[in-house]
């Protein structure tokens, strides 16, 4: 009868102040959606860049026509003092890599013929400072069709994603604080609405926890609702984006365990925000006997 009573009271508080409660839930939701999204995007950039950074700094794709010159280019590149290693990467090797990179995209693998993937020379720099110079020099080689330097793109991606991540977390934290304040406010309103009842409860000897628990539960429910909504929307949104845009080489497919563990984290965070918010709301009132 006790648990039933306490939960019933919490539910009654929520109903009585529905508008305010909805506001608080939405604030938690938006705040934690930002956080969840930031966690997902952070993981995507992390796994993607890890893959890219496997020693390759510059790739020179070679013309199909002059197969004979391929070794010449590789040897010449190897002779440059800024270069540590220059390796020939044949069509077959490239195809193997492609299959590995897109292991979960069977359709792509089906569509691509091994012969269409160009051979390349892959250069690892001895001196990363000389990056630009090597790129330019390699581009001048007649058998090189196109020079790709993942590092350039990588740095851009990293900077942008760091910036976005930081922004999302900052915004999420700010909204988190506002969510906390909103929850504190709903709890305070609920206390105010029931001040007579609380006064009598204290008069007849209801224990402090008995008086407080419905309000703490109210905050907890608001926090968890917001967090649950954030995880649900974040998860569904991510799946939808995954299905809608194939962003080529970016590793967008995260394991479910990651989404789940971070989702739990977000839920936990929502619960903490909720309880903390109601604790703040209860604080001033608790002083008065």
């Amino acid at each position: 009868m006790r648990a039933e009573y306490l939960i019933g009271e919490a539910a009654a508080n929520l109903r009585r102040n529905l508008l305010l409660a909805v506001g608080a839930v939405l604030a938690v939701f938006i705040s934690l959606l930002m956080t969840y999204a930031a966690l997902i995007v952070g993981e995507i950039t992390r796994t993607t860049t890890l893959q890219w950074q496997e020693g390759v700094t510059i790739i020179g794709y070679l013309h199909e026509a002059d197969l004979a010159d391929h070794t010449v280019v590789v040897d010449r590149a190897q002779s440059w003092p800024e270069v540590e290693t220059a390796t020939y990467f044949s069509k077959a090797q490239a195809y193997e890599e492609f299959k590995e990179l897109f292991a979960n995209r069977d359709r792509w693998i089906e569509l691509v013929e091994p012969a269409k993937i160009p051979a390349s020379v892959r250069i690892v720099l001895a001196d990363t400072e000389a990056h630009r110079a090597v790129v330019d020099q390699l581009a001048k080689e007649p058998s090189v069709r196109k020079v790709v330097s993942p590092e350039d793109n990588l740095n851009d991606v990293l900077t942008v994603s760091k910036f976005l991540n930081f922004g999302a977390i900052l915004l999420g934290a700010t909204l988190g604080v506002s969510a906390l304040v909103l929850i504190a406010n709903t709890v305070r309103m609920a206390i105010y609405a029931r001040r007579e009842e609380i006064g009598i409860m204290k008069l007849v000897g209801a224990s402090n926890w008995f008086v407080r628990t419905p309000f703490l539960l109210e905050g907890l429910i608001e926090g968890l609702l917001g967090a649950g909504l954030a995880v649900a929307v974040g998860w569904v949104g991510y799946q939808w984006l995954l299905g809608s845009f194939d962003i080529g080489v970016i590793e967008t497919d995260l394991p479910t365990s990651f989404l789940l563990s971070r989702g739990m984290l977000v839920l936990l965070f929502g619960g903490v925000v909720g309880v903390l918010g109601s604790a703040v709301g209860l604080r001033r009132w608790l002083k008065e006997s």
Binding site: M1, Y5, E196, I200, K202, L203, N208, S289
Partner: protein, 271 residues
Amino acid sequence: MIEVKGATKVYDKTTVAVRDINLKINKGDFVFLVGPSGSGKSTLIRLLMREERPTEGEIFVAGKEIGGMPDSKVPYHRRVVGTVFQDFKLLPNKTVFENIAFALEVIGHPRHVVESQVPKVLKLVGLASKGDRYPRQLSGGEQQRVSVARAFVNRPLILLADEPTGNLDPATSVGIMRLLDRINRTGTTVVMATHDHAIVDAMRRRVVELERGRIVRDDSRGVYEGLRTMEVPAVQANGQADEPGPEIAVDQPLPDGPPMTLESDIGTGNA
């Protein structure tokens, strides 16, 4: 049952509400706290229910020192002390039955206790047929009965009443006093702060008079305006009977006698 030792309460560091109160109340006593407004009656009640902490001194209730008691223990103290106020403090959105049941529910009594105790206490206060009414549908006297019922449903050792008849007309007040007397006879200690001369004079119970925060008189079967036994810092041993000098004839001052006949007295009272 209650022992106050040198209790002083100072508000905001300057206003002394009660000063060096020493008072002993035995189990089953019925004590009136009298005195003009601001004399410290209400403060003393608030100290006894631990709504306030004494600035100095100790207060023992049912064997426990409550002045220095941590806040977390206060609820348990409140369960041995019932309280009644001038303004009834009933919840308007609950019926009479629910108002009384509420007091049992929030301290964790199971439903079967609520369902057996509430009707009993409703009967005791004479409202057996009005359990499903709302407070607004009752007269002031009936509302105060509900309030007494709520204070008593938990069978507290002590009943504290702060001006319980303050909002009621004399005839209705008599009914409330009968009820408190009846509760007192069950062995419950009753401490009542009041301005009501007629009631005090008719009941002839122990009277403790306060003036500017000090006890100035303590008569075992006193009246409202008795002879002062002392003017200044009063530490008065209990039980020192004083010559009562009442102008009002008290037909039947009864500690133990059957139904009080307060009505006739009240009519001429100057409450």
